[in-house]
């Protein structure tokens, strides 16, 4: 009897270990897929307190040589690319939760890398989006998927590009600024580039 129980216990323990390994390997797989997105867990907390957050005056990207963010991209993301992007976002939501933050860095065009923080350049990341009602909502996997879906619909109907207002965070000073009037396809393009899709 004791031996049988022991066997069962060993079997259960083995099963448990296998499941843990599977679970971890699944997470690793998913993480690898979305590792190009700058993901932090702090944005979830930001969503909770976003209404309390002090938002500074609108930031002007032109002064940092980032004026191209206000223009429609020439390389308009294709439907296939957007579908790939939405798949990637759903993968993130499925494994990490739909509230998982998708924080996109604003990268200077020339060297393609994050600007090193110094006195002249802020290190900017897009953290929130302004809803139709005017509230700031964190850029979660779910919210980002909504934007990508909206862009897919616009492509299908050849509609006008909506201009989106974002909240950007200067990672150096920790201050938040509004960034207004970014064409939706620019955001999608930058996200695609960031993920190298």
């Amino acid at each position: 009897m004791f031996t049988t129980n022991k066997k069962i216990k060993n079997k259960n323990a083995l099963l448990g270990v296998v499941l843990v390994i599977l679970w971890i390997s699944n997470i690793n797989f998913a993480s690898a897929d979305i590792s190009k997105i700058h993901l932090t867990s702090s944005a979830f907390q930001v969503q909770q307190v976003s209404s309390l957050r002090e938002v500074r005056e609108p930031i002007n990207l032109e002064q940092f040589g980032l004026e191209y963010w206000y223009r429609l991209t020439e390389d308009i993301p294709t439907a296939n690319q957007l579908i790939k992007l939405s798949k990637r976002l759903r993968d993130a939501a499925r494994y990490l939760g739909s509230t998982w933050p998708v924080i996109l860095p604003i990268i200077p065009p020339l060297n393609g890398e994050m600007q090193q923080p110094n006195g002249n350049y802020p290190r900017l990341t897009i953290t929130d989006i302004r809803e139709a009602g005017g509230n700031w909502v964190s850029m979660t996997a779910g919210q980002t998927l909504k934007l990508v879906t909206q862009e897919l619909e616009i492509l299908k109907k050849s509609g006008d590009q909506p201009l989106v207002d974002f909240l950007v965070k200067d990672e150096v000073s920790g201050k938040y600024y509004s960034l207004t009037g970014v064409p939706l396809n620019r955001y999608c393009y930058e996200l695609l580039n960031n993920l190298k899709l």
């Binding site: 759903r90 499925r94 739909s98 509230t99 779910g142």
Partner: protein, 447 residues
């Protein structure tokens, strides 16, 4: 020559067959054509369709819900056999506000029960877009949040409360089906290992036990009531008492699940019609039934509770309180992209008793739901682009009359008018039920 002979023979046979068919048609058309709007004609037509929808030769019986006292005919978990004593105990516990003893805010002590969000008058749903358990004030449509406490102190879900009516026919519970180890979860090793499934039971038992913790319930207060000691002894002879112990949370859950299995809408007009009462449904309800059983509705809404045990994506919007903006449904549970946006197919009885509709509470009336399926344009475009929409989610091309008829079938043909038979007259605790907050007490004349 042989070939020509064979061909002639073949042509003669075809001619004979055609003659028989044509003469049959002629005979049929020569008969008095029945008025297509009479009860008898509509009833006969519906019978044909219902029989066709039933598997093998089960006929109308396939859709008949058993009598609630016929426990041997009600689907049950073998680990929780149904007994009248257990069902009776579960009936009381389901409505017992004395179980609500672990609220976050002490002012909500003993104010809510399972029936706060699943009450008979609402078809065992909540009649609210967002049901409120602990921390809710008022009854039925008037129930609202206690504005004096923090939001986190209120028991609320960001998804519509599903009905527990006819739940005996569901193997797994919750919209994403994470509760339960049988049915569609039987071959899901990951789901089998979820903590909620540690007891290895059917969904109904699993959820009822889990709800004890999730909804801040406990047995300490009922353990000192002599009547409950007696009822537990009758229901669970192997442990003939109730105490404030974890083991008894499980027993409360088992008793509640046993009671829930007996909640069957077996007095609905459609059920009476299935059992032979041809006048149970009006002409419009019968026409609606014909639309239902001759359209793709029945592909997902079949079996006695009119719901398959599987999951489907039909593009319903998410709940407005789901601030993540994305509910992947079954996909989150199975971790398969092919399951994204799929949700459990709900049963269809007594839907008219409660609104709104859809897992995301995105429809105010049943007619809106019917019109949605008639158009088949998804509310949630993310579901469309995920490519998982049900193959049956196609425009029904119904006329306005057919939409009216189908709505009537759903609203009244499938409405059991006597669900109050499942509600106890009083509780051993003597407390007000299903809610015991100050506002509800006044509304329910408990003071």
């Amino acid at each position: 020559m042989k070939i020509i002979n064979s061909m002639i023979k073949f042509l003669v046979i075809i001619a004979v067959i055609l003659f028989v068919i044509i003469s049959d048609v002629g005979w049929a058309s020569a008969q008095d054509k029945p008025d297509s709007n009479t009860i008898s004609y509509l009833s006969a037509r519906l019978k044909q369709l219902v029989k066709f929808a039933a598997p093998s030769n089960l006929g109308l019986n396939y859709f008949i819900l058993p009598n609630s006292s016929d426990l041997s005919s009600i689907p049950a978990d073998p680990h929780n056999p149904l007994t009248p004593e257990k069902v009776n105990l579960g009936k009381l516990l389901f409505h017992e506000t004395a179980l609500s003893i672990n609220p976050i805010n002490p002012k909500h002590w003993q104010q809510s029960s399972c029936a706060s969000c699943h009450f008979a008058e609402a078809g065992f749903r909540s009649n609210l877009a967002q049901a409120l358990g602990v921390g809710g004030l008022g009854w039925n449509k008037s129930r609202h949040r206690d504005a004096e406490v923090y939001s986190v102190e209120i028991d609320k879900q960001n998804i519509l409360t599903p009905s527990v009516l006819n739940s005996a026919y569901q193997k797994v519970m919750l919209w994403n089906g994470r509760a339960g180890v049988t049915g569609p979860n039987a071959n899901e090793p990951l789901i089998q290992e979820f903590d909620v499934n540690r007891f290895k039971l059917d969904g109904l038992e699993t959820q009822a036990i889990d709800a004890m913790t999730v909804h801040k319930l406990g047995t300490a207060a009922i353990a000192i009531i002599p009547e409950y000691q007696k009822l537990f002894a009758q229901a669970f002879p192997d442990r003939a008492y109730v105490a404030a112990e974890v083991e008894d949370l499980k027993r409360v859950g088992l008793a509640i699940a046993a009671y829930e299995r007996t909640l069957l809408a077996n007095q609905a007009p459609f059920q009476r019609w299935l059992k032979g009462d041809e006048t149970a449904m009006s002409a419009q309800e019968l026409r609606g039934g014909i639309v239902f059983f001759s359209s793709s509705c029945v592909q997902c809404h079949t079996r006695p509770n009119l719901a398959i045990t599987d999951f489907r994506s039909v593009g319903f919007a998410d709940h407005p309180q789901d601030f993540s903006g994305l509910n992947l449904g079954r996909g989150v549970i199975t971790k398969r992209a092919s399951d994204d946006f799929k949700f459990k197919v709900p049963q269809l009885y007594n839907l008219a008793d409660s609104s709104p509709y859809g897992h995301g509470a995105s429809f105010n009336t049943l007619r809106e739901v019917v019109e949605y399926f008639n158009r088949a344009q998804p509310q949630k475009l993310e579901a469309l682009y995920a490519g998982n929409l049900s193959v049956w989610f196609r425009p029904l091309n119904l006329t306005q009359q057919q939409v009216d008829d189908l709505t009537a079938f759903l609203e009244t043909g499938l409405r059991d008018p006597n669900l109050m038979r499942y509600v106890p007259e009083g509780l051993p605790s003597g407390l007000c039920f299903p809610n015991n907050d100050p506002v509800s007490r006044k509304q329910l004349n408990c003071d």
